[in-house]
């Protein structure tokens, strides 16, 4: 009974739209031949899915996103965890200030963050690029090879603080007796952090990885804004941009729906896989298992 609101919302904001997208992807208003004749609605079957999966621009976008995930997710997790451990260990003075300044970028909306970074990236405008050039280093953060790291940098900047807070909260829940026991057993602060604290916040790590993964697969705002500034970021740079382009530039709503269903399927599969993997390794008896015994 108490779950009713949850299921109502699930149906309303998730299952219904998904159903609509699937329907949209399976039917089509066709005009045979060149397309100048009258329309008729037909069952298109897998046609839109075949189109999405044979479109090199979609597959390239998938590849770009995969690369982005491989760079971004480990960086976010490791950096956030290290910062949270530093805060937790008391090594950082002015803990509150540090926490606030880390969290602040998260409060900046993605589009504003992208505008700020765009300014810092644009050659001829950016003080950073200028200083580097004066120091003898020529970089174009919007070049064909550098633009992906630039996107990662924006995302890292805005999501790091949020994840630090999650890890920090999890670390607060680690019983003090355990860290003290480690200390008594002769473990230094680094050893305590790596062997005692990190295993105990494993659940938080898995959660952060999963959320970041889901966010990353829908990468849109940052590259969309950068595409206004550099032509090497095309209209279909990521799958999310691809489906926006399909719907609003190409007016091909069936194709856009199919692309979004494919993206959803990939996201679900990866999240499920990650969940399964983390459950299995947890049950396989790690430090967490020992701790709870």
């Amino acid at each position: 009974m108490l779950m009713a609101p949850f299921f109502a919302l699930l149906v309303l904001v998730f299952l219904v739209p998904v159903g609509a997208a699937v329907r949209l992807s399976l039917f089509s208003d066709d005009q045979p031949g060149l397309g100048f004749g009258p329309e008729r609605t037909v069952f298109a079957g897998s046609r839109n899915y075949e189109a999405v999966l044979t479109d090199p621009t979609f597959l390239t976008g998938m590849g770009t996103t995969a690369l982005y995930c491989l760079v971004h997710i480990p960086l976010v997790v490791v950096l956030a965890l290290v910062l949270a451990l530093l805060l937790d260990s008391g090594a950082a003075r002015l803990r509150r200030t540090a926490q606030l300044s880390l969290f602040l970028p998260h409060a900046v909306p993605g589009i504003i963050a992208a505008v700020i970074w765009l300014y810092l990236y644009t050659p001829g405008l950016s003080p950073v690029v200028e200083v580097l050039r004066d120091a003898g280093v020529t970089v174009d953060p919007l070049g064909v090879d550098t633009v992906l790291p630039s996107v990662v940098n924006i995302a890292l900047w805005s999501s790091l603080g949020y994840n630090v807070v999650i890890f920090y909260a999890a670390l607060q829940a680690v019983p003090r007796e355990l860290t003290e026991a480690a200390l008594v057993d002769g473990a230094g602060p680094v050893r305590t952090a790596l062997r005692v604290k990190v295993p105990l916040v494993r659940g938080a790590v898995v959660m952060v990885v999963m959320f970041t993964l889901i966010w990353s697969l829908q990468l849109f705002t940052e590259p969309m804004l950068l595409s206004q500034a550099t032509p090497v970021v095309g209209d279909r740079y990521t799958p999310a941009m691809y489906l926006y382009d399909a719907a609003f530039t190409r007016d091909n709503h069936g194709l856009a729906a199919a692309a979004s269903v494919v993206l959803l399927a990939v996201t679900l599969a990866l999240s499920y896989g990650l969940g399964r993997w983390s459950n299995r390794t947890a049950r396989g008896g790690g430090p967490v298992g020992e701790g709870s015994r």
Binding site: S28, D29, D30, Q31, P32, G33, L34, G35, F36, E39, V42, A44, R47, N48, E50, A51, V52, T54, D55, P56, T57, G143, V144, D145, T230, P231, V232, G234, D235, R236, D245, A246, F248, T249, R250, D251, N252, G254, L255, A258
Partner: protein, 447 residues
Amino acid sequence: MPRPAFRALRTLRALLAALAVLPLLVAAACGGGGTGARETGDDRVHLTFWSALRGSQEVVDAYNRGQARVHVDFEQVPSGQQGGYAKLSNAARAGNAPDVATIEYPQVPGFAIDGVIRDLTPLVGERLRDQLLPRALALTTFEGRVFSVPMDIEPMVFLYRRDLFARHHLRLPRTWARFEETARRIKRAAPGARIATFPTDGGHHLAGLAWQAGARWFDTAGRTWTVSMTDGPTRKVAAYWQRLIDEELVFLNPVDTQAGSAQIGRGEVFGKLTGAWDAGGMMAAQPGQRGRWGVAPLPRWDPAHPRVGTHGGSTFAVTKDSRHPRAAMDFIEWQVSSPQALRARLSSGVSSQYPAATDLVAVAREAMDTRYFAGQDIYALFRREAAHISRGWTWGPRMTATLKTVQTGLARAGDGEGTVLGALDQAQRSALPDLRSLGLSVRAGPR
């Protein structure tokens, strides 16, 4: 006195209420913008007209002054690439598209297939048909039906710096082989300068060059779209420019940017391969270079059989939603064929457009102040070149997206990753699934 927490809650609630109202306001604002054709108390027929073309307001004012039966309400919209086409598609889907819309040639088949614009065949009279350049009308005709009426058609030409060519004792290249030779001489004589820029933001530019060589990126024979963006002639053109790019005989960068404009301002390029309209564009962009420019025919592949492609040009279409298609067509006919319309358009500023209606060429020629080109009769040249526009070219059903894909590839090539042919191949391979998923009959053409 309420506690701070309560006060905060109340503020929050007010804020939420304001947020809830916001969509309604936005919706209301949107609804106010796109008014379709309507009859009002003054029993005149009201038409709405959307255009991004400069001088459209002047044209509409002249039309409204000239007769009492129809009143045209003009709305300036963003250019197609800036969102004008998305606006038109969305308005058509919502059922409030304007009566008359401005569409460039590449987008005509797409809007026709989507059912945004209507078949004008029964409304295009003999008089208008005789006026229009057949090659222009062919580009807006599919399966024997006219979907849009051409206003101007823009053969590609070579704008060149008279003074720089003279200073270095260079002759105008009449063929592409000579063009390459001249490019080498320019690079030797002035190492910081080049003969031209190969624009990485120029999908249309590359299309025009391929068109000249006899390419057929899209073909409608056999009631099937045959897509061959890497056919023989295109490969020839791509290989030619790749060589010039690799040997750094041309610049490779965007041109429709401030940096591109500055390149011309500093005299680093000796010329520009572009549509006839861009002569006027140059006059507006570089007023300081008056008297230093000239217009030459586009270099040929085979001087015995001169052919050119086009770059730019606009058409007018009547939408499916229009309740007064006949009145809309009358307005279009007046716009594309009447000297008053052209004079009104030119009153808003310089333009070197080449009218698709042959009688108007004399009007445009008369209005052109040729001092910028050292007195050269540029319209005489345009007229000769327009006669050489290669037949057989057809634009495809999703040209905005297809050309954008080409440009993304060219931009990557500009950064050292990929080639001209690679960009075309990627565009070809992504256009095929796109068109298939629209339910069109599609096949890949010869490579």
